[in-house]
């Protein structure tokens, strides 16, 4: 049985008081405890940004990557060790700006990892420039005339047939934990876009702003099994913002077609195996 204490982190969070990331941190811990996963069974691969600090505030294996590059090492680690529960922590800047190409192709190939996008609609760590999800017209220091229309990550995920497409809200820890649990349990790529208030730089999409708009899909009769319905639901943004699982569907996982590797394998055995000898003979 894993407990919340198992996930007590080494460092004190350096996030701003009131930051939405605290809710995400709690939801992650709760989800892992409820799934009875132990810290050594988790691999956090994190991006650069406020999001990327999360793994240091809990316990698990941690590979902190480059800005926008969390997805490639994460999916490769999963290919190598299928027993790891690979969780990606990444920001809206890293996921939908700098690193979007990786995200899209990883969703397309369908690696079995869970991707938590801390979506504060702003570049947090670099002090508040517009991100790809900054609302249209949003005024920031890099968009003094207003931001262009944002990327809708849910639509992009649907466009490449991602098998688990969801939106969570950092302030609703219990609901978010439920979504994360489902995402981790899902066989295949799970994209969870998490609305995360940034109290320092996003003065539009505040705790209050989200709270007034967010509602849960559960109980509305919405079923996440129809792609066209999902496509329409994913476009809802404004007075009402849906949270929960938007779309879910299983399809073959990339690494399941690959050989299972053993990282601890005594490599000397490979050499003396007949395989390479046979290959060499092919060149004679």
């Amino acid at each position: 049985m894993s407990t919340l204490e198992d996930f007590a982190g080494a460092l004190t969070p350096s996030w701003c008081p009131g930051c939405g990331n605290f809710g995400i941190l709690n939801a992650v811990k709760n989800a892992l405890v409820e799934l009875n996963i132990a810290p050594h069974e988790v691999l956090f691969v994190s991006d650069i940004g406020q999001n990327g600090k999360l793994p240091h505030y809990t316990r698990g294996n941690v590979f902190n990557s480059l800005h926008g590059r969390a997805v490639p090492p994460a999916v490769a680690a999963k290919i190598i060790n299928r027993n790891l529960n690979v969780i990606i922590d990444i920001g809206d800047g890293g996921a939908y700006g700098e690193g979007l190409n990786h995200l899209i192709h990883a969703m397309r190939r369908n690696h079995d990892v869970t991707c938590l996008v801390h979506d504060n609609q702003v570049y947090g760590l670099t002090l508040g420039q517009a991100s790809p999800t900054t609302d249209i017209g949003g005024i920031t220091k890099t968009t003094p005339q207003g931001a262009p229309p944002p990327v809708n990550p849910l639509l992009l995920a649907l466009a490449v047939d991602c098998g688990f497409v969801a939106r969570g809200f950092a302030d609703d820890v219990a609901h978010l934990a439920k979504i994360i649990k489902a995402g981790v349990a899902h066989r295949g790529f799970a994209l969870i876009d998490i609305l995360q208030p940034c109290v320092s730089f996003n003065h539009k999409n505040t705790h209050q702003w989200y709270r007034e708009r967010v509602y849960k899909l559960e109980g509305t009769g919405y079923l996440p099994d129809d792609k066209t319905a999902a496509w329409q639901k994913a476009q809802e943004w404004g007075a009402k913002i849906p949270t929960g699982v938007i779309y879910r569907h299983e399809r073959p996982v990339y690494e399941e077609a690959l050989p299972v590797l053993d990282p601890d394998e005594d490599l000397e055995h490979i050499v003396v195996s007949g395989k390479i000898d046979k290959l060499i003979t092919e060149f004679v």
């Binding site: 080494a10 050594h40 294996n61 480059l66 490769a76 290919i79 190598i80 990282p263 290959l279």
Partner: protein
């Protein structure tokens, strides 16, 4: 047979120049000859004008030299461009019925298209007719050619090519009276492997136990990706065709972090995109192997041509300061061993090893002895054993090397970060820890210096000229120095197959007594020369540089050195 015999196959892209050249080389290798071959082709799939040269010899060869003895030509342009390169005693073999009669001397005309059509129903095997004709003139056994064709082609193609070859042999016997003075024969009883640099390198990676590759195609390293992709299932290996080079290198780092030997391969342009990932591997101390196949730059440059223009870049790629190893194998055989060594050094020192190759080395076939697998050793470096207290991925140690552990084991958490971190792998901004971490990483260079194979001076004892080179120019320089030595010039060759960390003291000792130090490099700025100057403070003022996208010939080097000794 005289010392060496030189062939050229020439024609358009899509006409099978590459296959016929390869089969020719393979036929010679199977007879036990030393073979070296190179390829010259344009960046297009059909048309244009390509060639494939094969040199067979009784002694080891690593360069193309001298006039052509036999030119197999598939196109008029192939003849027009190359007939002047044919030796006085040589022959041009082609199909006058299709190409028309070209006004060149000493031709052997074979109605290859017609013979192919008669034998197989279509003209697709015409080139095989020409190949068979050439080999027949040289006394090659028909049975040996047929068995080669059977192992190379599959299904119907095998049947047709065998028929075509038979027709070629028969035609020569019945209609051609020319007798070649040189006749081929089986040398000893051991046939050699015929491999190009990329194949040898791929085999080396397999021998070293590489389990993961991620890459994006790019000339000249695509054949590494393709070879390993084709063998992956059989080998229990994973090859991921990544969405781009950025993904490729970061996947490799992730796979290595998770526990297996992993590599990527690219050319200069793709390497540019990997540069940030190099820094990540360095900061997280994750062992990775990167193959960089050079071609002429900048930018797209000449995609299918030759250059050694990236040494400066490989030495200094990425911001910040961290250790790395650069191997510059010089022959196909060295490519194999470089791959094996690369994985060992990468894991032992937990860093990136770059293997630099280039278009010439990657695509030139040579006949080599079977790689001796008993010499392959695997060293995964220090691995973590449970008794040593709580695991710290970046623990400070005397030699800067922290035991490695792989994620997924109860009781062990593997934490690492691209930000500066403490021993446990957590973020820190502490200035003292920062300095210690920099020292830890850079300190590895001390032990690494001992790992590098020292370049050996080859040639005259107390030379008056030393020609230094690195990588694929080896064959041309060595051949040139041999010739010059034979003519009495006191010259020697200093070649670098492992270039970084640079053995500066040893090189300084070698060079300081020599009145003239030259470099021969396939680039425009003399990058090795600059490295020698920086590391030894010895002036290197004489350069033989070639940067038109083609490899050196020994003759050019001889000419350039000749000017110096005059």
């Amino acid at each position: 047979m005289t010392q060496t015999l030189n062939f050229m196959v020439s024609g358009e892209a899509g006409q099978g120049v590459q296959s016929i050249g390869f089969l020719l080389a393979k036929a010679l290798a199977r007879y036990g000859y030393y073979v070296f071959s190179d390829q010259d082709y344009e960046s297009r799939v059909r048309g244009g004008s390509n060639f494939f040269r094969v040199r067979a010899s009784l002694t080891p060869v690593n360069a193309i030299k001298d006039k052509i003895n036999i030119l197999l030509a598939f196109s008029r342009q192939g003849i027009e461009q190359h007939h002047r390169g044919v030796a006085q005693t040589g022959f041009i073999i082609y199909d006058t019925e299709t190409l028309g009669n070209l006004n060149v001397n000493d031709t052997v005309s074979i109605p290859a298209a017609r013979l192919s059509k008669e034998a197989t129903g279509d003209m697709q095997s015409a080139n095989t007719v020409l190949l068979a004709a050439a080999l027949c003139l040289l006394g090659y056994s028909p049975e040996d050619l047929l068995s080669l064709l059977q192992s190379y082609f599959r299904g119907e193609a095998a049947v047709n090519n065998v028929k075509a070859a038979q027709a070629g042999f028969q035609y020569v016997r019945e209609h051609i009276s020319i007798k070649m003075t040189t006749q081929l024969r089986k040398i000893g009883n051991k046939s050699r492997m015929l491999v190009h640099g990329n194949e040898a390198l791929s085999l080396g990676a397999i021998a070293a136990g590489c389990k993961f590759m991620a890459a994006y195609p790019m000339t000249p390293i695509t054949s590494i990706i393709e070879y390993l992709s084709g063998k992956a299932v059989e080998l229990g290996m994973v090859v991921v065709p990544a969405e781009d080079e950025i993904a490729a290198i970061n996947m490799v780092t992730g796979a290595s972090y998770a526990g297996v030997r992993a590599m990527t391969a690219t050319s200069g342009g793709g390497f540019c995109l990997m540069v940030e990932g190099l820094g990540l591997a360095a900061m997280t101390e994750t062992p990775i192997v990167v193959v960089e196949g050079q071609r002429p730059g900048p930018a797209i440059g000449l995609p299918t041509r030759q250059e050694q223009g990236d040494l400066d870049f490989m030495l200094h790629a990425a911001h910040g300061e961290f250790p790395r190893v650069i191997l510059t194998p010089s022959t196909a055989e060295e490519c194999f061993w470089a791959a094996v060594k690369a994985f060992n050094l990468a894991e032992k020192y937990q860093l990136t090893v770059i293997i630099m190759t280039d278009h010439h080395l990657a695509t030139s076939y040579s006949a080599v002895e079977r790689f001796d697998l008993t010499r392959v050793e695997i060293d995964r470096g220090v691995l973590y054993s449970k008794n040593s207290g709580e695991y710290k991925r970046h623990q400070f140690t005397a030699d800067g090397i922290s035991p490695r552990a792989f994620p997924g084991k109860p009781g062990t958490l593997v934490v690492t970060d691209s930000d500066e971190h403490d021993e446990a792998g957590h973020l820190t901004e502490d200035p003292e820890i920062r300095s210690k971490m920099v020292n830890k990483r850079l300190g590895k260079m001390v032990a690494l210096r001992e790992e590098i194979r020292l370049p050996k001076l080859w040639g005259a004892e107390q030379p008056e000229i030393i020609v230094a080179g690195w990588g694929s120019t080896f064959g041309a320089i060595r051949e040139a120095v041999t010739t010059l030595t034979e003519t009495g010039v006191k010259i020697a060759h200093l070649h670098f197959s492992e270039i970084w960390p640079f053995p500066k003291d040893e090189v300084g000792d070698i060079l300081q007594d020599c009145p003239k130090v030259m470099v021969a490099e396939n680039n425009a700025t003399g990058q090795l020369a600059k490295l020698i100057q920086r590391e030894t403070c010895i002036h290197v003022n004489d350069h033989v540089l070639r940067y038109d996208g083609r490899p050196f010939t020994p003759a050019e080097i001889i000419a350039a050195v000749g000017q110096e000794v005059k």
